[in-house]
């Protein structure tokens, strides 16, 4: 616990935080408030309560968009938990130089996050062009249309998201594993625990909080999915429709129909989910120093 010094200056603090606070209000708080206002009012600015929220659910794209995103999240989060945790534990049991080289390798695709990774994977999924063509053929996919069949899209988006995002989570897990006291690992070894037992009984419980952080954080980020379905839709002439994910639907309603109030209602749905996730990470995982 740090003692508060009586000499800590007070008022000048406002001057140092002022530029940031202006930005925070203009770019963070004001737009969040404005979208809530739009969601609760009609085009003629009358208060309408929850009408926009209810009307938005009646849009024929609404239910499919949320079904799509739930399928995607289910696949993606399962893959993240199994492979990120498994790989992190595996790498942690190797010698540091090998492990460091691997972490960097796995992290590299983060450079292609967003549009670039979608573009690249459009080639990876094209049987005639892809270095993985033999795998695609073996699965019975002979054209890009086979790879991108509507039923495959949640898996395809999960694959792309995993490829460009898993590396950074592995790095986070490594950071968490590195904080495990050497003594705990030594004494496990003395007690005769092998690498497997040490991983499951010592390391895993000690990084539980970080796994929770990853799942909640990835859920919040994944529910915002936009670039992948949007680009695939554009690249293939509407195979994934332009309202595949909730965020796409909100944009679609705003851009094509000027239904700003419905769009705002969907944006508020997503924002509320994100804020709840953030609050759980902040106040329940104990990973962050919330000041004193």
């Amino acid at each position: 616990m740090k003692r508060k010094s009586p000499m800590r200056p007070r008022k000048s603090g406002y001057l140092f935080v002022a530029p940031y606070v202006v930005l925070l209000v203009a770019i963070g708080i004001y737009p969040a408030g404005y979208v809530v206002y739009l969601a609760l009012t009609s085009l003629s600015a009358h208060f309408t309560g929850l009408d926009n929220f209810i009307d938005a659910t009646h849009n024929s794209y609404f239910v499919p968009a949320f079904e799509n995103i739930i399928k995607f999240l289910g696949i993606w989060l399962t893959a993240l938990v199994i492979f990120v945790v498994g790989l992190s534990l595996l790498l942690h049991s190797l010698n540091e130089r090998v492990s460091a080289a691997f972490r960097f390798l796995l992290y590299l695709p983060a450079a292609l996050a967003g549009a670039a990774s979608v573009m690249l994977w459009l080639f990876m999924l094209q049987p005639g062009k892809s270095p993985w063509g033999f795998v695609l053929n073996w699965l019975g996919y002979h054209t890009l249309g086979d790879s991108l069949a509507p039923a495959h899209l949640p898996v395809v988006f999960a694959l792309i998201a995993f490829w460009s995002g898993a590396g950074s989570w592995i790095v986070v897990m490594h950071g968490a594993l590195a904080t495990i006291p050497r003594a705990a690992l030594e004494s496990a070894k003395l007690d005769g625990a092998g690498a497997w037992r040490t991983a499951v009984y010592i390391k895993l419980p000690l990084i539980k909080k970080w796994i929770a952080y990853m799942v909640i954080g990835a859920f919040a980020a994944g529910s915002q999915l936009f670039a992948e379905p949007q680009l695939i839709s554009e690249a293939t002439g509407g195979l994934a429709n332009q309202a595949w994910s909730p965020n796409q639907l909100a944009i679609f309603l705003a851009f094509h129909y000027d239904y700003f109030n419905y769009a705002a209602a969907i944006a508020v749905d997503l924002l509320v989910a994100a804020v709840i996730c953030a609050a759980v990470i902040l106040f329940r995982t104990g990973l962050f120093d919330v000041g004193h």
């Binding site: 969040a32 979208v35 549009a115 054209t143 950074s168 965020n247 953030a278």
Partner: protein, 281 residues
């Protein structure tokens, strides 16, 4: 006894083989696409590429301006704010800290539509500021700066300077700013990687305009995919709607990611230490 030890050794080596085969497969999954990209980019007819280089150059300059301006504002706001939250005592300090952390944990994409609606209202939609200002709000940078300036050793320096008669501005300018170099570099790195790869925000702000001259690189990539017209319906035969040859696209993709790869290689130390990476999302 001896045979027991032998079998144990054999078991370990089998385990090791399995481990390394598994790791090789994982490495292949992550790295083969990047190798393909490099091979494809340099194996093609470079003449085909030169035609698109001009417009690509404009997008490269746009991306550079947006990211650099965003990072400059981020650093100018994050460092002093984190410094003040860590070393000053003022009413509202804790509220500001918690609000900052809450917003840093919300995916930036959750605020894209609200920002679009706001930009639409204030008629800033196609202005560069419509992307620069959102890039420059970087609460995670404030949190990093706050953690950094909590260091007890620094606080002794600040107190000494105050006792020696420095005013608050001098303490910040002469002592805190020079000390902030490592954390400032980390803020710039994380901020630039995030803004350089951002697709959703510029797409929403600029897609409605006919002119592509404001586009940053990720939108340029999207445009490569968009050369055909969309019918909005399911097509019997799915194919890429692009007229550019794969080698040209691969080359342009490589050019797009090259700056980020350079930054990543330079920042390996931080990536390996792993403390701050979760926030890249």
């Amino acid at each position: 006894m001896l045979s027991h030890a032998n079998s144990a050794a054999r078991r370990t080596s089998t385990g090791q083989v399995v481990t390394y085969v598994l790791l090789a497969l994982v490495a292949a999954f992550f790295i083969v696409p990047i190798i393909w990209l490099v091979v494809e980019a340099f194996g093609g007819n470079l003449g085909l590429i030169s035609g698109t280089l001009g417009v690509w150059g404009v997008w490269l300059i746009n991306s550079t301006i947006y990211s650099a301006a965003g990072a400059a504002i981020a650093i100018a706001t994050c460092v002093p704010a984190g410094y003040a939250i860590a070393t000053h005592e003022f009413p509202g300090r804790r509220v500001l800290l918690i609000l900052t952390m809450l917003i840093m944990l919300i995916p930036t994409s959750a605020l894209v539509l609200p920002l679009f609606l706001e930009a639409n209202e204030v008629h800033l939609l196609t202005s560069p500021f419509a992307v620069i200002l959102p890039y420059s709000l970087f609460p995670f940078g404030v949190y990093l700066s706050y953690l950094y300036f909590q260091t007890e050793r620094f606080n002794i320096l600040f107190q000494t300077a105050r006792t020696d008669g420095c005013n608050e501005w001098k303490v910040f300018r002469r002592i805190a700013v020079p000390l902030s170099k490592p954390v400032a570099a980390l803020i710039v790195f994380l901020n630039i990687v995030a803004s350089w790869t951002n697709f959703f925000l510029p797409w929403v702000m600029y897609w409605s305009t006919d002119s592509t001259s404001h586009y940053p690189l990720p939108l340029g990539i999207a445009l490569q995919l968009f050369n055909g017209e969309t019918s909005g319906e399911y097509l019997g035969v799915i194919q890429l709607h692009t007229s550019s040859p794969p080698s040209a696209i691969a080359f342009l993709l490589l050019a797009t990611i090259a700056p980020v790869v350079v930054v990543l290689v330079l920042a390996q130390r931080w990536i390996r230490s792993g403390q701050f990476q979760g926030m890249l999302h």
